[in-house]
Structure formats: structure tokens, C-alpha cells
């Protein structure tokens, strides 16, 4: 009794003969690297791709009512094959490419694509990509360092934990993140009472019994710091920050790369219907969703929204919609998300997570903005060094 009804209904829904096809690609550039400090952070093989699968499945569910089908190609390549793969993708007629690479790679890909494709960066957080290194054909669903730092800063200031002890790693990306925290402190009125750099001297990872080495260094490393309310750690390279909580000399909370962490997604996030995303994702991937999965999902949902709302197959029209005010992407964050016209960054709330829960969500209600409260996070229009901003 049941089956025929379903079949019937499905037949009635789409117009398969007229189906418009929307193609996208996800290009992940895998660099061999060291293992993360915690085995819980080991990257799954389908990192990012699982988010793509869910987005395409969601888009296609909607597409059955609009006569639209969505297809995604997935590529996981080494850095030296990245440009060649991008050419292959473009040659195949795909013009919407989600990239999962570092900042330098992202810029190279954008330059290579030129006006032949629209790229969406779902991995690199560097502020430079949203400022001096921005590209006209590049959008970002990955949060910028500045958005994450601002999201955390707002919470700490709302708590009146204004005196920070900033510890940064020695890698360039750690220093970039530290700069974002300095800017956030200036922007929201925190005081960095002391700054230290933790030199990565090699080794000291999981394989090298990090818990005896780095852990043992933390108490002394944090000794005799000026009076502070909170330790803020910038450790994008994942060298030391996980060992800070409970090992600091002074009994102080840790935030940033450990403790209270700013992120776009967390597997415990349940508000605003997020539970539904979590259960759909987990059923599909057999694992909890990571930031990068969510960011790829957002990128492909933006394309889905453009297709549904414009009902167009013209790529220029789709791109206009994605970049425009008409995009109101629902991302389980309680408000509509859209791309900033000055630097291509997706404006989005930042989750502040601690271990098993989402502790708070920024922007905090106390911080207002004349246009969108979401623009209190990250580089706002007047500060943008992206040429697109300067032209307007």
C-alpha cells in the first residue's frame, strides 16, 4: 500500500525531461602534515566532502519540486596537482568551485580561474584573503581570523574579563591569529596585559608524548605573567594550546585555541533547528560534522538558494543572486546569512564552544551595529582594504 503511493507522488513532483542541472565542484588540497595533538581531531577521509553530499542531497530534495538537479564533483589532490585539477573542473563546464586549501593556494586558484569560475573558500581563515589579497572571483564561507577573534572578544568583554594574557605560537598563521586578537582587543576595549610567544621547536606531539613534554612546560612558561583575567591562545598550528587548560601557573580560564573556542560549527549545536542538520549529517557520514563540512554545506546551499529563487540557469544571474541582498541563507544560526559586498565574506554568527557544549553565540546582544549586528564580527566596510570595498 505504501510504496506505490510514494512512487506516484515522486512521479508527480518533478519534470525530469525539463530538469536543469547545476554543477559544482569541491577541490580539497591535502598537504601531508603532522598528526593533530588530539586523536579526536584526526581528519576524516571525507572531511568537507560529507558536507557537500548533504548540501547536494538537500538541494535535490528541493529540486524535485522545481525541476532542478544538483551534482557535485569531489577532488582531493596534492598541492602540485591543484591547478591542473582546477583546469579540468573548468574544462568540464563547472563554474562554481568550493576550495579547501590554505591562503596561498586559494589565491593561486582564484587567479588561475579568473572570470571562468566563482570560487568559494571554505577553509582558509587568513584576514589577508579578505583584505589586501582579496579577489573579485572569491567568496568565503570560512570565517576570517578577525570574525573568530571578535566573536570571542565580545563575550569576554560582556563578561568583563578585559585583561588578557595573549600567548601565540611561532608559526605565521599563529601570528596572524594573534594579530586578529590584538585588533579585537582594540576594537572592543580589552587590554592585553602581557604577550608571550611559544616557540615550536619541533617534536613534542602525540607521537613524541606531548603530554610529558609540552604539558610539562606550560606551568613555567606561564609563570609571573602580569595580572590577567583570562589567557587567550593563538595556536592555529595546534602545537601547545590544548595543554594550557589546568597547566597555567595562575588559575585562569583559557580561551581561543583551547578552552572557550570560537568556531562556525560544533556537533553539540542544537539551537535554531541545528539538531536537524546534525542528525541528517550524522546519518549520512556516520560521524559528527566538522567546521569544514558546515562551511562547504553553506557554499553549496547558497548555490541551491540561487537556483530555487532565480529559477535561472544563467551563471551570471546565479552569481548576482548569491552576492546580492536577496540571499538569505538559513544556516541554523537564528538569522539570515549573506555575503559582504566589500570582501566576499559570509557574515555569520560565531559559536563559542567548550568541550561538549556551545557556551554562547556571538554577536553578543550588547554590541550594536548601524547596518547588521553580524558586521560587528570581522572586517567591516570602512576598515576593509579589499579593492572592491574601495571602489564603492
Amino acid at each position: 500500500m505504501l510504496r506505490p503511493v510514494i512512487a506516484c507522488a515522486l512521479l508527480a513532483l518533478g519534470q525530469p525531461a525539463l530538469a536543469a542541472e547545476y554543477r559544482a565542484a569541491v577541490l580539497r588540497i591535502d598537504k601531508p602534515g603532522r598528526a593533530p595533538s588530539s586523536r579526536l581531531d584526526l581528519p576524516p577521509d571525507d572531511l568537507g566532502f560529507a558536507g557537500a553530499q548533504l548540501a547536494v542531497s538537500d538541494n535535490n530534495t528541493t529540486g524535485q519540486f522545481t525541476g532542478q538537479t544538483f551534482v557535485v564533483e569531489e577532488y582531493a589532490v596534492a598541492p602540485d596537482a591543484a591547478l591542473e585539477t582546477l583546469e579540468e573542473i573548468i574544462a568540464g563546464g563547472t563554474r562554481y568551485v568550493v576550495t579547501l586549501g590554505d591562503a596561498d593556494m586559494t589565491v593561486s586558484l582564484a587567479d588561475a580561474a579568473g572570470d571562468r569560475a566563482l570560487l568559494v573558500n571554505a577553509r582558509a581563515k587568513d584576514d589577508a584573503l579578505r583584505n589586501q589579497d582579496c579577489r573579485a572571483n572569491l567568496l568565503h564561507t570560512a570565517p576570517s581570523h578577525a570574525m573568530l577573534a571578535d566573536g570571542l572578544a565580545q563575550f569576554l568583554i560582556a563578561k568583563r574579563w578585559s585583561d588578557w594574557f595573549l600567548i601565540a605560537g611561532s608559526h605565521p598563521e599563529d601570528q596572524a591569529m594573534a594579530e586578529a586578537y590584538r585588533n579585537a582587543a582594540r576594537k572592543f576595549g580589552a587590554l592585553i596585559v602581557e604577550e608571550r610567544t611559544y616557540e615550536d621547536t619541533g617534536g613534542a606531539r602525540r607521537t613524541d608524548s606531548g603530554h610529558v613534554q609540552v604539558q610539562a612546560q606550560m606551568p613555567v612558561f606561564t609563570q609571573r605573567a602580569a595580572n590577567h583575567h583570562v589567557v587567550v591562545a593563538a595556536d592555529e598550528a595546534d602545537i601547545f594550546a590544548v595543554w594550557l587548560p589546568y597547566h597555567t601557573w595562575d588559575p585562569r580560564p583559557v580561551a581561543g585555541a583551547a578552552g572557550l573556542r570560537p568556531a562556525t560549527w560544533h556537533p553539540a549545536h542544537e539551537a535554531w533547528g541545528a539538531t536537524q542538520f546534525q542528525t541528517r549529517f550524522e546519518r549520512l557520514a556516520n560521524r559528527p560534522a566538522r567546521d569544514m563540512d558546515y562551511q562547504v554545506w553553506l557554499a553549496l546551499r547558497a548555490l541551491g538558494e540561487a537556483a530555487t529563487r532565480t529559477n535561472s540557469e544563467d551563471f551570471a544571474e546565479l552569481e548576482d543572486f548569491i552576492r546580492g541582498d536577496g540571499l538569505e541563507l538559513a544556516g541554523f544560526k537564528g538569522q539570515a546569512l549573506s555575503f559582504r559586498d566589500w570582501d566576499g565574506q559570509l557574515r555569520q554568527p560565531v559559536l563559542l564552544t567548550t568541550g561538549p557544549v556551545v557556551t554562547s553565540v556571538s554577536p553578543q546582544g550588547e554590541f550594536l551595529h548601524q547596518v547588521s549586528q553580524l558586521d560587528t564580527l570581522g572586517t567591516d566596510r570602512p576598515e576593509s582594504q579589499c579593492m572592491k570595498g574601495a571602489q564603492q
Binding site: 506516484c8 507522488a9 530534495t61 519540486f65 536537524q276 538559513a330 549586528q373
Partner: protein
């Protein structure tokens, strides 16, 4: 001694005929149903409602209470007089909201996790059909003659018009982001669909299956992002539409002819669903974050009382006195 007394009290309660309307509130977090007296506004009872009870409705004769126990993947059924649990109905996975056919049977259930609407016969407890719809189905509405059921899908952003005879989807109307609730006027001439993230209520002509108007909201001092329409009810005569605005903690009073917002009533936090008392003298709101319900006097459009209920009240239905 205490035990004997408690038993006596329960028996007395069961035996007493309902002289007043009773308000049933599903509490999503404390997994129970709170019963409030519709005259004294006092909590008179509370009983387990299954895991994560959300959607709640009553049979037209007021005898049975149906509750979407979302995490049990069941619709739980209760006797509204004795509060006894009766055999459950199958619902499909993660039922969130449902609508009962005006005749009292069948029940149309939105399955959030499975992109389905499940149709269940409440007497035989059989699943009659599973209808594939958009991503994250939630809102459910039905025409007064029961011929068309509406489902809204939160990520697909459509109102699906489903033929209740053939279970075929007749039309899809694209609305604003995250449609949460669908409600017809009593004469079936207008369909309202609320969009939580879009911040609008789409006024749809059910004949043409087109949006004819969009109601927008604006409250000085409240961030526009916080104005999130969720629950909606229309007076029997269609003159006034009440819209729950979620985290804005307000219920909008909308003119049913001009669709102009006439007033905003401050209620509890994260106001979610609404229900009229049978005589339409009062409107009840569930306030998820303040764990209470607000009582609105409809004639004066004033909030007259709030009543503490369970944790995270979600849905509400009023069962008339006999």
C-alpha cells in the same frame, strides 16, 4: 497517610467533570504536559508526555489529546479526562508538528528528519501514506473542508499543497526562509505561512496558490533579526491575526483585512505557539525560554497573566468544557 491522601486527590480529580476549559501545554525539555484551568489560570495537573513533546492537538470532540513525542518517534495519545495514556500512533521519525483532519481522522504528521509527511489513521493506527516533501518539514495546515493539507519545509522554503485524496502534491509555493507554521482562515479563503528567518508572514491565495501579500514586522529597540514569526492564529471571523515573534518576546496583532500590524504585545521569552480558548476570549502563548505561558485578553489585546509551566513549553491546545 500522605500516600492515601494523594491517591484520594487523584481519584477526585479524575471523577470531577471538567467545568472549565483546560489548557494543555507540551514541555519540550521536561518531557511533560501541563494542564491549566481555563478559568482560574491555575496549574491543575501535569503528566509525562513522552520524550521531547512538541506538537499537541485534541480530537474535535475533545476526548483525545495527541502529542508529537519527537524523540520517541511516536504520537502519544491521552484521555483528556483521566490523563491516562492510550495506545500510541505510529508517526514516522522525529514528528514535530501535525494537523488533524477536521473530521478528527486522519492525522497528517511532519517528519523533520525524513523529509516526509506521514498520514495516520487514528482509529486503526495504520500508516495510510508517506508523502515525500522538502527538507525539514514542519508547519502543517489543512483547509476547512479537509481537501488540501499544507506542509511547509524549513530548508526547502516551500508551502506544499497536498491533495488529501490522492496524496499528490498539487503545487509548491516558494516562501521566505524557514517557514514554520501554516494556518488557514476558518472559511479557507486565505492561507498564512510564517517564515522565521525571513521575518515575514506570507499571505497566500489558496485558489491561485500565489502569495498576495507579505506581512513584515518592526519594533523600535528590537533588532530586526529577532523578529522571527513562528506560531500564528486567526480569529474565527478573520478580522485579526496573531503572530508569535519568537525571540522578540512579542505577539503581533495584525489587521485581517489590511494586514497592517496594529499592536505588539509583550509576552514571555521565545514565544512559540498560540491557541485560542474556545470562545476566543483569550489567547494562550507558550514561552519557551521563560518556562511559562502568557494569557492575552483578546477583546482588549492586553496580556493579563503569565503562568509557570514545565521546562521549555512548546505547543498548546485548549480543550473545551463539556
Amino acid at each position: 497517610m500522605t500516600r492515601v491522601f494523594a491517591l484520594f486527590a487523584t481519584t477526585a480529580l479524575c471523577a470531577t467533570p471538567a467545568l472549565a476549559d483546560r489548557i494543555f501545554v507540551s514541555n519540550e525539555r521536561s518531557n511533560d504536559i501541563t494542564v491549566v484551568d481555563g478559568t482560574t489560570w491555575e496549574v491543575i495537573h501535569s503528566f509525562p508526555g513522552g520524550q521531547r513533546p512538541r506538537g499537541i492537538t485534541a480530537s474535535p470532540d475533545g476526548r483525545f489529546l495527541y502529542v508529537c513525542a519527537s524523540d520517541d518517534d511516536l504520537v502519544r495519545v491521552f484521555d483528556t479526562q483521566t490523563y491516562e495514556e492510550l495506545p500510541s500512533l505510529p508517526s514516522g521519525p522525529d514528528p514535530e508538528l501535525f494537523v488533524l483532519h477536521p473530521s478528527g481522522n486522519p492525522l497528517y504528521i511532519a517528519n523533520e528528519d525524513d523529509n516526509l509527511v506521514t498520514v495516520v489513521d487514528v482509529e486503526t493506527r495504520q500508516v495510510l501514506a508517506e508523502i515525500p516533501v522538502g527538507v525539514e518539514p514542519e508547519g502543517m495546515g489543512i483547509t476547512p473542508d479537509g481537501s488540501i493539507v499544507i506542509n511547509t519545509s524549513e530548508t526547502t522554503n516551500m508551502a506544499h499543497f497536498i491533495d488529501t485524496e490522492t496524496y499528490e502534491i498539487l503545487a509548491n509555493v516558494l516562501v521566505d526562509q524557514r517557514p514554520r507554521y501554516a494556518q488557514f482562515t476558518s472559511d479557507g479563503s486565505v492561507l498564512f505561512v510564517t517564515s522565521e528567518i525571513g521575518g515575514t508572514v506570507s499571505v497566500i491565495d489558496p485558489e491561485a496558490r500565489e502569495i498576495v501579500h507579505k506581512i513584515t514586522f518592526e519594533v523600535p529597540g528590537v533588532l530586526p533579526e529577532a523578529l522571527q514569526p513562528v506560531g500564528l492564529k486567526v480569529t474565527e471571523d478573520g478580522s485579526t491575526v496573531y503572530v508569535a515573534l519568537g525571540p522578540a518576546n512579542r505577539v503581533a496583532v495584525v489587521n485581517g483585512e489590511t494586514y497592517e500590524v496594529e499592536d505588539y504585545l509583550l509576552v514571555g521569552q521565545r514565544v512559540w505557539q498560540l491557541a485560542f480558548t474556545p470562545d476566543e476570549s483569550h489567547l494562550i502563548t507558550t514561552n519557551g525560554n521563560s518556562n511559562d505561558i502568557s494569557i492575552i485578553d483578546v477583546a482588549s489585546n492586553r496580556v493579563i497573566k503569565s503562568v509557570q509551566v514545565g521546562e521549555q513549553p512548546w505547543g498548546v491546545v485548549v480543550v473545551p468544557s463539556e
